[in-house]
């Protein structure tokens, strides 16, 4: 095993990775921007390096600053977390060229999956079901209209280089497609530096279900169960659970097999996620995209399997055996993650500010992955995730009840939070029934 790891990220995920590193006796090195000097992850690392001002482009996205910090601290490995540079194959390649261990898949696998059009085509060839959609970038509105006629409305307009739900727009007819296409292109260019757009059939009564995969050095790709991520606002996840209440055992078996196949098609190494749409009525699924990194919602998988996914990432990157027997992975009980965002509970608008009070819930089955503590300032420069409140129960009912009690006991004052929204979600008949889809939040907040 390597002796030191630099975590090229911030907030809760930096803290999460640092915790596993320290538990395993690996020296953990944090990097931070001027805005983040007081956050818990900086204090908890063995060493911390200031890499630049608040703006992400000058700090967490500054490849040279991160590599310089790794050299200065004699780090042996680099863990990218999620977001920022985590899915950037050029960065991964420069990490390897500079002689560090990259904790993630090869830059080649990342590049193959990073472009959504390419990923769709590759998956289709590998025999993984994909939704009806374009096989090459859509050049202009005329081409989009022609493609949509083939695919059938409604369609989803997506940035090929995109992620995190940013820049995705659904169009119900040609008027909406015409209106939305240029906006989508502009955003794709601005956020991802690549204006390529694809269109996909938009499934209305769909669940968003993903499979955790783990690629081993011997070429096997394990599928460690699914996560239901259908609770979304603005196409971004708000709560996740495993197992998915909308997936039958038969469908689960097919999805897990397809996810392994998808990973093997790109020689995937380490932790990754295969995201799918599940057509609730048809009990069928389609490949959406692969995330070539640790996922925000990985804790729910950890809670039901008892596997530390970050530890497996370290072991795989070091070329050592994983800690569990792939033939005997069991899933126990039910786990739910609530993303606690610095945003109001009604309109979900961002609310940065000084955290005056921060009291985390505790108790059986409760895990809090937090990026902040009281006295910290939440700044407008980064995403609004404050913490992930994760709960584990022997069954879904117990998990729901524990989640409701824990959400009520979470005390945050200062920035507005979506805790009230979560309380309503956990009480709603639709969520409690398990029979919900990606439109749930818009029904709760019409």
């Amino acid at each position: 095993m390597f002796e030191s790891v630099l975590v090229a990220n911030r907030g809760e995920i930096a803290r999460r990775v640092i915790a596993s590193a320290r538990r395993l006796g690996i020296r953990a090195i944090a990097v931070y921007s001027e805005a983040d000097a007081d956050l818990p992850y900086v204090a908890e690392a063995d060493q911390a390096v200031l890499i630049g001002p608040a703006a992400p482009a000058s700090s967490y996205l500054d490849r040279d600053a991160i590599l310089a910090a790794a050299r200065a601290t004699a780090a042996q490995a680099i863990h990218p977390g999620y977001g920022f540079l985590a899915e950037n194959p050029e960065f991964a390649a420069s990490v390897l060229t500079a002689g560090f261990i990259w904790i993630g898949p090869s830059p080649e696998s990342m590049a193959q999956m990073g472009d959504k059009i390419n990923a769709r085509n590759l998956m289709e060839r590998a025999g993984v079901p994909v939704s009806a959609g374009t096989r090459e970038p859509v050049a202009d509105v005329q081409a989009a209209l022609a493609a949509a006629d083939q695919i059938g409305y409604p369609v989803m307009i997506k940035a090929s280089a995109g992620g995190g739900g940013i820049g995705m727009t659904a169009a119900a007819d040609s008027g909406q497609l015409t209106a939305g296409f240029e906006t989508a292109r502009t955003r794709a260019e601005r956020f991802f530096g690549n204006p390529a757009i694809l269109l996909e059939r938009y499934v209305e009564r769909a669940r968003h279900v993903e499979v955790q995969i783990l690629g081993l050095p011997d070429g096997r790709v394990l599928a460690l169960g699914e996560r239901d991520c259908s609770v979304q606002r603005r196409h971004q996840k708000v709560a996740e659970e495993t197992p998915s209440p909308g997936v039958s055992p038969q469908l689960r078996a097919r999805m897990l097999a397809a996810a392994s196949q998808a990973g093997e098609a790109v020689s995937y190494l380490g932790a990754g996620t295969v995201e799918c749409l599940v057509d609730v009525d048809a009990q069928d699924f389609m490949f959406l995209e692969m995330n070539t990194r640790l996922q925000v919602e990985h804790p729910v998988t950890e809670l039901v399997t008892g596997i530390d996914l970050v530890e497996q990432q370290f072991l795989i990157a070091a070329g050592e055996p994983i800690t569990f027997d792939p033939a005997h992975v069991t899933s126990n009980g039910h786990a739910i993650e609530l993303r606690i965002y610095a945003e109001d509970s009604k309109r979900f608008l961002p609310s940065p500010g000084l955290i005056e009070e921060w009291v985390e819930p505790a108790g059986p089955g409760i895990r809090v992955d937090a990026g902040y503590r009281s006295g910290n300032r939440v700044t407008p420069y980064y995403d609004p995730l404050l913490a992930k409140l994760c709960v584990h129960g022997t069954d879904r009912t117990q998990a729901l009840d524990r989640a409701a009690a824990a959400a009520a006991a979470f005390g945050i004052s200062g920035p507005k939070t979506n805790l009230q929204f979560h309380a309503e979600l956990l009480e709603s008949a639709e969520f409690r029934s398990g029979d919900y889809d990606t439109s749930l939040v818009s029904r709760l907040r019409p």
């Binding site: 995190g164 940013i166 603005r234 610095a342 945003e343 608008l349 961002p350 609310s351 940065p352 500010g353 700044t379 407008p380 420069y381 980064y382 995403d383 609004p384």
Partner: protein
């Protein structure tokens, strides 16, 4: 006269309207960006923009003046 103020700390990403322009209720004046989200600031009344107090790249605090519509 209506004053349009920022609802939160944010960066001014785009200034869509200009001083002297007439706007209708619901027209976008500027687009703010905070926590990786674009937030359009819209006119809540129709009239003429007599003052536009922000420029692209500015940082606004909660309550800061963005525009005056008369």
């Amino acid at each position: 006269m209506a004053e349009v103020r920022a609802e939160m700390v944010a960066n001014v990403w785009k200034v869509v309207a200009a001083e002297g322009e007439s706007v209708a209720d619901g027209d976008t004046l500027v687009i703010l960006e905070s926590m990786k989200m674009e937030i359009p600031v819209v006119a809540e009344d129709s009239g003429t923009i007599t003052r536009l107090a922000v420029a692209e790249g500015d940082v606004v605090q909660e309550g800061d003046l963005i525009a005056v519509i008369e």
